[in-house]
């Protein structure tokens, strides 16, 4: 092999590895965002979930996920494939013979980091009332099995990839974010709202206990998104990756401003949590087409995402689906919007594409809604998914963990 090719391979692989660690730190972003937007008495619990999920995600992805998601060329165009348990190094795994952009191990670890984000999305929506055991069980199954199956449909060469006009989802508005979003919807719905959220005398606010922590979470997520989207180029290609950086950042910025304005119009106040959600909605929105959008497209997509997220939060509250951190508005609404946007804005815009995007959203939605309903419902009917009333009021930390997040501070209530 000539040196130049090997050099380029080394560069590409380097970027993919850096992307991997950027995606890794998103888990800290999720952990702090979710902890910040919930109450102090449930903080250990939410951190516990967000700490254990990446661990579970990485291990199950090594055991089955990777080979479910990338079963190989023989499963092209299909719905399901599996190439065996565990990781086994193919011939030439560490050279451009495996792939021009990365080694087999880079491929695995990059994809594995992605996988765990889906379950993390769920943890925010079911926060402050779901039992720990069933949540871990759910995550195990959902990250281990459901996510890779859906991922295979597109990224593993499955049927969504072989539509006449192939479904397009660059970095996972549908494949990652709505996958998490649907399960979050099912979970939040089957659990019911937190005690005291929707009362006979109207909706009550349950403020998040640590706004700095939530802010930090969103910055870390944006930071990680450079890897999430930038790494999805699957090489260090200067033009594409830098374009993705620009579209991603501008969408996030536009999302922030749009959410600021929308929430100000709606609520007559500067709500930082809405701005934070706006940033995330911009990011989720641009994710499906980050490499196919122009500068203005990105701004539009982000801005619309920012508007939708505020309306989404209001809408889910109207439906009495209690989502403490706005995960549904961000990941589900934002993910659907971003996926559709590929058919509306940018290089691929067109009716056929829009149709394919619909098909993709619907297929993934049906499968994820169904499978997460199955899991959550089974858990609900067997072990139960919700902590009992007394535990919820006293807090999950002291009941599920016999521990407090801030033992030295006096609490307000």
């Amino acid at each position: 092999m000539e040196a130049p090719i090997q050099d380029l391979f080394t560069i590409n692989n380097l970027w993919m590895m850096v992307s991997t660690l950027l995606i890794f730190i998103m888990h800290l972003g999720f952990a702090t965002l979710e902890a910040g937007l919930t109450r102090a008495k449930n903080t250990v619990n939410i951190l516990f979930k967000n700490t254990i999920i990446p661990a579970i995600g990485l291990l199950t992805y090594a055991l089955v996920g990777f080979n479910l998601m990338y079963p190989g060329a023989e499963f092209a165009g299909s719905f399901f494939g599996f190439s065996g348990f565990g990781l086994s190094l193919p011939e030439g795994w560490d050279s451009s013979n495996y792939n021009a952009g990365y080694t087999y191990f880079t491929d695995f670890i990059f994809q594995a980091m992605f996988a765990a984000t889906a379950a993390t999305i769920v943890s925010g929506a079911v926060a402050e009332r779901m039992k720990l055991g069933p949540f871990i069980t759910f995550s195990l199954l959902y990250v281990g099995v459901c996510y890779p199956i859906v991922g295979m449909w597109k990224w593993g060469g499955g049927f969504l990839n072989t539509l006449e006009t192939p479904f397009y989802d660059f970095a996972g508005s549908t494949i990652v974010h709505t996958v998490g979003g649907w399960a979050a919807l099912v979970g939040a719905f089957l659990l019911g709202p937190r005690i005291g959220k929707y009362t006979p005398t109207g909706m009550k606010a349950i403020p998040g206990h640590n706004i700095p922590m939530a802010t930090m979470g969103v910055f870390l997520l944006w930071f990680g998104w450079f890897g999430f989207n930038g790494g999805s180029v699957l090489s260090a290609d200067p033009g594409t990756v830098s374009r993705v950086f620009v579209t991603t950042s501008l969408a996030a910025s536009a999302g922030a401003i749009a959410a600021l304005i929308t929430s100000y119009i709606k609520f007559k106040t500067y709500d930082i949590t809405m701005v934070l959600n706006g940033i995330l909605a911009g990011l989720v929105g641009i994710t499906a087409g980050a490499d196919k959008m122009g500068v203005l497209d990105a701004v539009y997509i982000g801005a619309i995402g920012g508007i939708l997220v505020v309306l989404g939060v209001i809408a889910f509250d109207k439906l009495k689906i209690d989502d403490p951190v706005g995960a549904l508005a961000v990941h589900l609404v934002g993910g659907i919007w971003g996926t559709l946007a590929v058919g509306i804005f940018g290089e691929l815009a067109g009716l056929n594409q829009l149709l394919s995007q619909f098909i993709g959203i619907a297929a993934v939605g049906a499968f994820c809604f169904g499978s997460s309903w199955l899991i959550f419902f089974t858990l609900k009917r067997t072990v139960g998914i919700r902590v009992d009333e007394k535990e919820e009021i006293e807090g999950l930390d002291i009941n599920e963990h016999q521990m407090r997040a801030y033992p030295d501070f006096a609490s307000k209530d």
């Binding site: 009021i393 002291i398 963990h401 016999q402 521990m403 407090r404 006096a410 209530d413």
Partner: protein, 112 residues
């Protein structure tokens, strides 16, 4: 005028407050105190060591009322504060010599 002090379960506050309000008593002060008594604190655990925090967090109410309202308020607390489990708390009643409303210098029962 009487001052009614009650050490109650924090979780019963809303119920008691509602009952008292119905009597027309809308004013009160309350704050967190730490209680030691028959009831023992829930065990906590940290790195393998179980321990009992030394106290139970409770809410203390203070309400100053004209003599004739005292009984009603006390009954509210007795009824709504009760779970019949150890740790429901106590009510203490004191004599108040004088009361003033700072805003307009009202004194006595007018000040309440």
């Amino acid at each position: 005028m009487k001052k009614i002090e009650a050490i109650i379960r924090t979780s019963r506050f809303d119920y008691i407050h509602r009952c008292i309000s119905k009597l027309g008593v809308k004013f009160l002060s309350f704050y967190e105190v730490k209680g030691m008594g028959f009831e023992h604190a829930r065990q906590e655990m940290y790195r393998g060591v179980a321990y009992e925090p030394a106290y139970i967090p409770r809410t203390k109410l203070e309400i100053v009322v004209p003599d004739d309202l005292a009984e009603g308020v006390i009954n509210c607390i007795l009824q709504e504060g009760k779970t019949s489990e150890v740790g429901d708390g106590k009510i203490f009643v004191y004599e108040v010599l004088e009361a003033y409303r700072i805003r307009n210098q009202d004194t006595g029962e007018d000040a309440l």
